[in-house]
């Protein structure tokens, strides 16, 4: 029940944003929400399966370039192009997932990085197709389906992004709460044991990598038509690090945390970049501080404080305090 109330408040609140926000702010808000989707998609791997992907930018770039090419060449209605871009990206992610899940831990991180770099190199290899270092400019946002022109305006696009954010959040949430999600948790805690229980852990890992890339590509597919261009910047490996930071600082393994982390960071970046050029210095220090001192992230801190307050006094120790670590 609490969840339903929270969700309803969030939806209503989000829908009211365009009424109160100045137009220029809306651009940043849309970008922040897209990054929220992107960070959440990585959380499926990092937080729920403990597979550290250092090449998640590949998902973003694949989605962005697919939707850009579809819109440029076929001029199809925007929602169709986005859906199709996600499908194409997930198909491309399938062999990637097959190779990467042969390994785990550090090797997995490096393999995903290698695939992302391969994608980056391919952009330059197929210049006539991808525009090389110039990228693709002038991506249209065609009307439709049924002549709907809503998404051609910024406010309409905002609602589209909000819809995608809540939709993919609910999908991811039911995914991690399903029996499938329990097996993922088993892999996270002890892969050998889970395999011994009779689960084909590699197949589960493959599936979650593809799903994570799918949701990540949704973020990219939303970004390219919004910005109107796609450039190799969208495939640059530092983005993978940035989104990982958002997941960790927001709170890995909570879905909501990474969304908040993504939104928070894009806002901060936009606000701070104007007043100080020390931004990366602060950004890096905050990140190290979180990894060292609060690995559960912002949302983890919030929920544990709330739970502690909710628990009636004398009802026994908090389950998280059993270790005696936080006496």
């Amino acid at each position: 029940m609490r969840f339903a109330y929270g969700l309803a408040i969030a939806v209503v609140g989000a829908c009211l944003v365009p009424l109160v926000s100045p137009n220029y702010m809306l651009t940043i808000i849309i970008e922040a929400l897209i990054w929220g989707i992107f960070a959440m998609s990585l959380d499926l791997l990092v937080g729920y399966t403990r597979l550290y992907s250092f090449g998640h930018v590949a998902a973003y770039g694949l989605g962005a370039y697919s939707s850009a090419l579809l819109l440029l060449h076929f001029h199809m209605p925007l929602p169709f192009a986005i859906i199709l871009a996600v499908v194409i990206s997930s198909l491309i992610a399938t062999p990637i997932a097959w190779v990467c899940t042969r390994t785990h831990g550090v090797s997995f991180a490096m393999l995903t990085l290698a695939f992302a770099q391969l994608g980056y190199a391919m952009l330059y290899r197929f210049k006539e197709f991808t525009g090389g270092s110039n990228g693709l400019a002038g991506i249209p946002r065609p009307a439709g389906p049924f002549g709907i022109e809503l998404f051609q305006h910024k406010v309409g696009y905002f609602y589209l992004v909000v819809f995608c954010l809540f939709g993919s959040y609910l999908l991811c949430r039911s995914l991690v709460n399903s029996p499938f999600g329990s097996v993922l948790a088993g892999i996270r805690e002890n892969e050998a044991k889970t395999r011994a229980l009779g689960y084909n852990t590699r197949a589960y890992k493959r599936a979650i990598v593809i799903a994570s890339y799918g949701f990540g590509s949704l973020a990219g597919a939303l970004y390219a038509p919004f910005a109107g261009f796609a450039s190799p910047e969208l495939f640059f490996w530092l983005i993978s690090g940035k989104v990982l930071i958002m997941v960790i600082v927001g709170g890995a393994g909570t879905l909501i945390g990474p969304i908040i982390g993504g939104i928070f960071f894009i806002f901060l970046e936009n606000q701070l970049a104007e007043i100080t050029d020390l931004w990366p210095l602060i950004f890096g220090s905050v990140f190290i501080a979180f990894v060292m001192l609060a690995p559960q992230g912002i949302w983890g801190l919030v929920t544990s404080t709330l739970n502690r307050r909710r628990a009636p006094a004398g009802a026994g120790p908090d389950p998280e305090d059993v270790s005696g670590a936080s006496a």
Partner: protein, 290 residues
């Protein structure tokens, strides 16, 4: 065109390239072998080495002093970082935490270097003694690159002998095999770890100083080189010293000849090579699968 001369100079070019790559990759693989840490900041430390070398050359005018000063500074920075942050994470036993903390360090160092030395590239002149070219089969070849090959080979042999023959090298190899046992035998494993981390960082800094006359010291040289170094270490097998030599050679030859014969595919070939090796041997050429 003189094909034999071309081939010879290209091979020598690749060898000199491999030498610089080796300085970065060997440190990376050494640190991984002992501590199971993938040091994302290794590229940034390489860059710090190049900038520190630039300062040493402009102040003292001596390239040799730069080759001493830069690794010293960078090694100390690395050791301080290891003591302050990484050593507190050992108990957690989570490889991801190392990756993230060192990534944070890479971001901070990149920015700190920009604040200290400014955004414009800083050229380091080739030392006077090594200026000029020699003609090999009518093809010009710079002396400096011969120097790179020589110093790379010397470092590879020196480091190998250090690991194989000295007591400190013995300790390092022992810690990489079973740290708990070494600890139980009365050695302070913490010191070994800090020392190895500093040594790895110092190696990267030497690579940075050596690369500076060729490419100047510029922001972003760290992020360019760290990817190459990762590829090398993965190809050779993480933690394998010999693997880092083989990987450096392979990557350098692929880069030099790939850039000539397949200019469009040069970047991709390196990653394809790596993927191929990983599919056949998930642990790299000489590595053990975890």
């Amino acid at each position: 065109m003189n094909f034999a001369g071309f081939l010879l100079t290209q091979c020598l070019n690749a060898l000199s390239q491999a030498s610089i790559l080796f300085f970065i990759a060997s440190g990376l693989t050494l640190i991984f072998g002992i501590m199971r840490i993938v040091n994302f900041a290794h590229g940034a430390l390489f860059m710090l080495g190049a900038y520190a070398g630039y300062t040493a050359v402009t102040v003292t005018g001596s390239f040799t002093l730069a080759l001493v000063f830069a690794p010293l500074v960078t090694g100390l920075v690395g050791m301080a970082f290891e003591r302050a942050f990484l050593s507190r994470l050992y108990v957690r036993g989570d490889g991801g935490a190392y990756l993230m903390v060192t990534f944070g360090l890479a971001v901070i160092m990149g920015e700190a270097i920009r604040l200290i030395w400014g955004p414009q590239p800083q050229g380091v002149p080739t030392p006077d003694m090594l200026r000029g070219v020699v003609f090999l089969l009518n093809q010009p070849f710079p002396y400096y690159r011969f120097f790179l090959i020589a110093i790379g080979a010397a470092a590879a042999i020196g480091l190998w002998q250090f690991l194989e023959r000295t007591r400190a090298g013995l300790l390092i190899r022992a810690v990489s095999q079973n740290a708990e046992m070494v600890h139980a035998l009365g050695t302070n494993v913490e010191y070994v770890r800090t020392g190895v981390f500093g040594l790895g960082c110092a190696m990267a800094a030497i690579g940075g100083v050596l690369a500076a006359p060729l490419v100047t010291a510029y922001l972003g040289m760290g992020s360019n080189v760290i990817i190459d170094a990762f590829v090398i270490v993965i190809i050779g097998g993480m933690g394998s010293f010999l693997g880092s030599i083989i990987g450096s050679l392979l990557v350098a030859f692929v880069q030099v000849f790939g850039a000539y014969y397949f200019p469009n595919l040069a970047l991709a070939i390196m990653y394809l090579l790596m993927l191929l090796i990983l599919v056949v041997r998930p642990g790299g050429l000489l590595g053990k699968e975890e």
